[in-house]
Amino acid sequence: MAEQSAGPAAIGVFCSYVPLELIEATGFRPQLITGLEAERSDPRLPANLCSYVRRCATFLDSQVAQQELSGLIVTDSCFPMLRLWDNIQERANFPFQYLLKVPRLNSQSAIDFFGRELEQLAEDLSLINGIAFDKEKLYSAIELYNHFRSLNQRLLKIIMVGGRPQLAARLTGLHASASLQNRRELNLQLENLLAEIEGSEPDVSKAQRPRLLVAGSHFIDHKLMSTLADLGGEVVGVDSCLYDRIDTDLIKADKNDPIPGLAAGYLYKTPCPRMRANREHLFQIGSQTDNGDYDGIIFLQMKSCALHSYNLPVWRNMMHETGVPLLILEIEDGEWASPRTVTRLEAFLESLRG
């Protein structure tokens, strides 16, 4: 495993329940694996596992992973993830391999349990670097990430106003590269983007475009966002189970003992359907839709993600009640810009414009 010549060694992280701050604070560089790194799914894994997991399995065998990553952290968030862990145990040989247990509740006992899990992870990570786990460093990493989150919140507010059709694509584009970048640099880029946008007025003529919420079980590829803009739509909201959990709500941590705050933050963030609190989140989207925030909703259903599949009738019902059109787009392996996808998006936008 090659040490990076410059900067800290990278730890690959496979689900957005892993606090990146913790990895940063123990002297490593967190690299969130989005599944987009690999060209295709690992054919050895059965097709009823989602393409995210099957692509991650392909990525593990790649030279890039072998050369760049010093370790991996997987969560027990769902069965496909747990099977990814089994694959790592059987096939991979990274110096650090860790299964992080993440509760499905956000009750106090769940936060306590998760806090202890994080403490153990922090100690194990520090041990490889031969240092003691330093809570102050964790607190400053949280501050760094909170700054990123607040920049992100400001950008999302501007996106919500409308009149800047390519902005969502630009933001998600920066996020897509975030996994490879230093968080400080990313913050700088977001600040630059904000400065550029705050200095210009939104194009009101473009406010006539259908306002879209893009939701789904994917790390949403920015190519899809920009396709939507090219087709005459405007993405004003993003609700992906990967995107929001990392990038919006600030972590409220205590300087002397930041772990409980970090644990709570990650369990309280926008819940994916594995969490008991998922239904409250859906209600929230329902009421936003009821307020007229969106003209149409695109739900990207990752093929074989059963957790999200159970919400499909709920989405349909909710949209039926609010009268807002819904497009459920089942995405197989990396079909972000395939003609099949584009045709459907185009037809949906045509129907929104009447």
Binding site: R40, P43, R44, E332, D333, G334, P339
Partner: protein
């Protein structure tokens, strides 16, 4: 004389072997809806070729999907056991058989005596089978037997990401409309089949020498892709589609020898 009959999903095959186990006649025809009729047709054909009467045949073994619908066969044995036996005859040290038929593809691990040690078959969908190629040939509007030679001329194989025949077909149509060259699409399809087979090979564990049997082995593009993917030589017998029937005939002989 011993007769092996293989009733597959698309074609019916018969092989006649003599008392020393040498093949003396073979026949291939469409299976159709009446398996018994198809079996009769290929059986008649081989007996005519050998200029013998049916009653000169000592034992008949039926194999393939229609194996249980042949009343004149003395025994039914699965195509897995038969392909292993037939392949071993064609390639004496053979340790692994890749058989891609009309609706099934299988990888068989063979022991020294022709005994099946392990095997793996495709799941229910047609991806990675002869049917898959047939559907795709249809979309590309070219005869099935031209696919192999065309695949060999590809210089920039298309990437076919979908594993499902139905989706892959729409992907192929998209590639055609995007102006992708026909031979590159075909080579991409061959690669996609090979990937399927590769995952089955992984499941049972790669061993060699490998014989490739079944009608799809006639397509050189698939064999070549598979060879590159596995990094080993793929041996294709001169008539790969009759190996199951050959194995059945050899097993018929072995059974007769055993019973004295």
């Amino acid at each position: 004389m011993y007769l092996g009959i293989d009733i597959g999903s698309i074609t019916a095959k018969a092989v006649l072997v003599d008392d020393s186990g040498q093949m003396i006649a073979s026949s291939v025809s469409k299976s159709g809806f009446d398996h018994n009729q198809a079996a009769q047709t290929v059986a008649d054909d081989v007996t005519q070729q050998a200029a013998i009467d049916m009653d000169k045949i000592n034992t008949i073994v039926a194999t393939g999907y229609g194996r249980n619908n042949i009343p004149f066969a003395s025994r039914a044995i699965t195509e897995i056991t038969c392909h292993a036996r037939g392949a071993l005859h064609e390639l004496p040290d053979c340790r692994m058989v890749v058989d891609i038929g009309g609706q099934d593809s299988k990888v068989i691990l063979v022991g020294p005596s022709g005994r099946v040690i392990d095997f793996c078959m495709n799941d229910r969908c047609a991806a990675g089978t002869g049917r898959f190629l047939e559907v795709m040939a249809n979309s590309l509007q070219i005869p099935l037997d031209e696919m192999g030679p065309l695949a060999m001329t590809a210089d920039n194989p298309a990437s076919i990401s979908n594993v499902c025949t139905v989706f892959a077909e729409s992907e192929v149509i998209s590639l055609i409309s995007a102006g992708k060259k026909r031979e590159d699409i075909i080579r991409g399809l061959c690669r996609s089949i090979s990937e399927r087979v590769n995952s089955m090979v992984t499941r049972v564990g790669l061993d060699q020498p490998i014989a490739m049997t079944g009608g799809v082995a006639l397509n050189k593009g698939v064999a070549m892709e598979l060879e590159q993917m596995l990094g080993v030589t793929i041996n294709v017998p001169s008539s790969p589609q009759i190996i199951g029937a050959l194995g059945a005939a050899l097993l018929a002989k072995e059974e007769a020898d055993k019973n004295g």
